[in-house]
């Protein structure tokens, strides 16, 4: 039975469980819902959950585990000499899977009977048959592959049948057990409450586990990278010159310099503008102005970064080139093309303005009105009050906001891909092209690359370094923000 129908069956069973459980509870109470411990629907949910949850959990685990187990067992069947040179067991296994899949399809479409499929011999006609059902094979089916495919089919078939049986039994068992427990004194409401709790915990731990998983996968690939490339060159070298023929210089420092330089310029734009905008909005603006200006600022935050990238590439870059490049308005020749640190930094600064302003706005609003009153009551003007009372009180929070903005700037990709250029170098001139860690990750991983070379794996080392960097900034920012929150509670 296909998994889809199994799930439908489970749903139907739990829906039936809901109605049956509810009516049984009502019956035990003699039809008077007030005699029940819980509302009638809770008894229904209890039976439905008992039928559905364990079964679907087992189903999910089974679906994940079965291919791994079968793969493992089948690959043991393939003799080492059956693996041609310069390929891996993985490639042979993918052939096995495709042959098995092709046989299944052929049976489904009536081209083969079950018996024929089980006894099929290799050779030309099998490859043609596979082609007919839409499974393209690179070469004729070799006997080892075919026999492996056969046992693959057998194992999957057995596994699937076992799975269906186990899941169906589990669902029925849960149903019967819960239905039997349904009685007017049974505390169904508390059971459902625990179910809700479990669901929430599951959601929270999924998010946390994903983070752990991402970090671990990066860690493993990074370890592979450092097995192929010296870590001293990566961290302390001075040139970035990847060469897919080997012998590359892969140092993070020029990229880090570009990243930090561009982020610095972006913050130089975003922090003053964002902060002043926040001060205006929270301290000076009337209700009407605020109700217009705040959503407008937030729209800025909703623009996809690729659009900012276009803006950098097509508007800001050429405009800067018009000023600073050869034949430009200033008559200087400081800029070679449209891409530069300044282009990317300015555009990224614009992107960060709403980020800084909305965070700072919240923080400024959290400063108690009593402090403002105190200052105004002493005869201070509004700007004196903002400068000398509100800002010092809000400063830790604003520092936190700036750090969060900085970690966004460091991790930003699209704008720098399109606006900053691709040359890795140390230079203090903001009008030169430079490149960042994120840009290099993109270029090392896209395209037709060998996944075992240091030139590709360096992307993971770069990514991990970036992750550690932004994580550190975020932790610091959150620490500062939290410390500040405690002051006024």
């Amino acid at each position: 039975m296909p998994t889809f129908w199994l799930v439908v069956l489970l749903l139907a069973l739990s829906a039936a469980g809901f109605y049956l459980g509810r009516s049984r509870a009502l019956r035990t109470a003699g039809g008077d819902a007030r005699d029940l411990h819980s509302l009638p629907s809770y008894y229904g949910y209890h039976v439905a959950l008992a039928a559905f949850v364990p079964a679907i959990a087992v189903l999910a685990v089974w679906l994940l585990a079965q291919p791994l187990i079968i793969e493992n067992r089948v690959s043991n069947l393939i003799p080492a000499e059956a693996v041609p040179e310069n390929t891996t067991i993985g490639l042979v296994m993918s052939d096995v899977r495709r042959v098995a899949e092709g046989l299944d399809l052929a049976v489904e479409q009536g081209l083969l009977t079950r018996r024929e499929a089980r006894d099929a011999a290799g050779g030309q006609d099998l490859r043609a048959l596979m082609g007919e059902v839409g499974v393209a094979l690179g070469s004729d089916v070799r006997p080892e592959v075919l026999s492996a495919a056969q046992s693959y089919r057998n194992l999957s078939h057995t596994g699937k049948t076992a799975m269906t049986v186990v899941v169906a039994l589990l669902a029925l068992g849960g149903f019967v057990w819960a239905y039997g427990r349904t009685h007017k004194d049974f505390r169904a409401r508390n059971v459902v409450e625990r179910g809700v709790l479990a669901l929430l915990i599951l959601a929270a731990s999924l998010a946390a586990l994903t983070t752990v998983g991402i970090v671990l996968s990066m860690l493993f690939e990074t370890k592979n990278f450092f097995g192929l490339h010296s870590w001293t060159d990566f961290f302390f070298g001075s040139t970035w010159a990847p060469n897919f023929r080997g012998g590359s210089d892969l140092s993070i420092l020029p990229l880090l310099w570009g990243t930090l330089y561009i982020s610095f310029i972006a913050l130089l734009v975003a922090v003053p503008v964002g902060l002043f905008a926040a001060i205006y909005l929270s301290e000076y603006a009337s209700g009407t102005v605020r109700s217009f200006a705040k959503p407008l600022l937030e729209i800025l935050a909703g623009i996809p970064t690729i659009v900012y990238g276009l803006f950098a590439l097509l508007t800001v870059g050429p405009a800067l080139a018009n000023l600073f490049a050869k034949g430009g308005l200033l008559g200087v020749e400081w800029m070679a093309g449209a891409t530069s640190v300044l282009t990317a930094g300015l555009v990224m600064g614009v992107m960060l303005i709403p980020f800084v302003s909305s965070l700072s706005d919240d923080i400024i609003n959290a400063v108690p009105q009593a402090l403002r009153d105190g200052s105004l009551g002493l005869g201070a003007t509004k700007s004196e009050t903002v400068r000398q009372v509100v800002m010092p009180a809000a400063l830790p929070g604003i520092v936190g906001a700036v750090l969060l903005a900085a970690s966004r700037a460091i991790g930003e990709t699209m704008i720098v891909v399109m606006g900053a250029g691709a040359i890795a170098k140390f230079s203090a001139n903001p009008l030169e092209s430079m490149t960042t860690i994120t840009t290099r990750i993109v270029s090392q991983l896209t395209g037709d690359t060998d996944f075992a070379s240091p030139e590709t794996l360096v992307a993971f080392a770069l990514g991990l370094t970036l992750f550690v960097l932004t994580l550190g900034l975020n932790v610091l920012a959150l620490y500062i923000v939290r410390k500040y929150r405690e002051q006024y509670e």
């Binding site: 009337s286 009593a370 009153d373 105004l376 002493l378 005869g379 201070a380 010092p392």
Partner: protein, 265 residues
Amino acid sequence: MNDMTLMDNTVDTQNIKIAAKDVNVFYGDTHAIKDVNVEIEDNTVTAFIGPSGCGKSTFLRCLNRMNDTIGTCKVTGDILLDGEDIYDKRVDPVQLRAKVGMVFQKPNPFPKSIYDNVAYGPRIHGLARNKAELDEIVEKSLRRGAIWDEVKDRLDAPGTGLSGGQQQRLCIARAVATEPEVLLMDEPCSALDPIATAQVEELIDELRASYSVVIVTHSMQQAARVSQKTAFFHLGNLVEFGPTGQIFTNPEDPRTESYITGRIG
């Protein structure tokens, strides 16, 4: 608590410091203060009493134009400080607030050192020519706030680290540092414990020598203890205004009597 010692409170001088004529205040459509006429004397503690929402705080905030910071608030009528209309266009509300100091309900020291809290006003208004003068102003103000002895050894400590009563006296010191002529106090003791309250009340009585003090309070005992004149507000009207002793012992208006005996409010 002390017994009411009303009869000891005597009115020393009769100089009118603030005169309010036909004052009306509107918050949007709400008519918060209705035709209030009151004359506040110099070197006197004047108490505003009345049930919550009766407009006494609103009226107090009119006296230093703190209501200007609320967009929807509109004030009509005349409020004269030493004979000059404070709502005249030529009057700068910022300067006015230096002359009419204010102490708030909750102690609100700035998140700065004790010294900087007190020096805040003098610095803004340029009252000190040099550091020595500023030190002198700070010390004088803290002495007037009756808190000098407690904080003189830790002027660099943050003002927010003091106890509630100390914070409120610090705020009073901060308010007197700008050399105001009038001190407005909006329920200055409502967030304080009885001991701190007694200290602040004692201080208010001392401040009477140099300033005209207006205090809004919910506590009738407090009004009786510290004030020489009392104004009773009810539903935005000034019901009765007179010497404190008379208001508490022999009120003219039945509403005043009901309030001070606890029947309304």
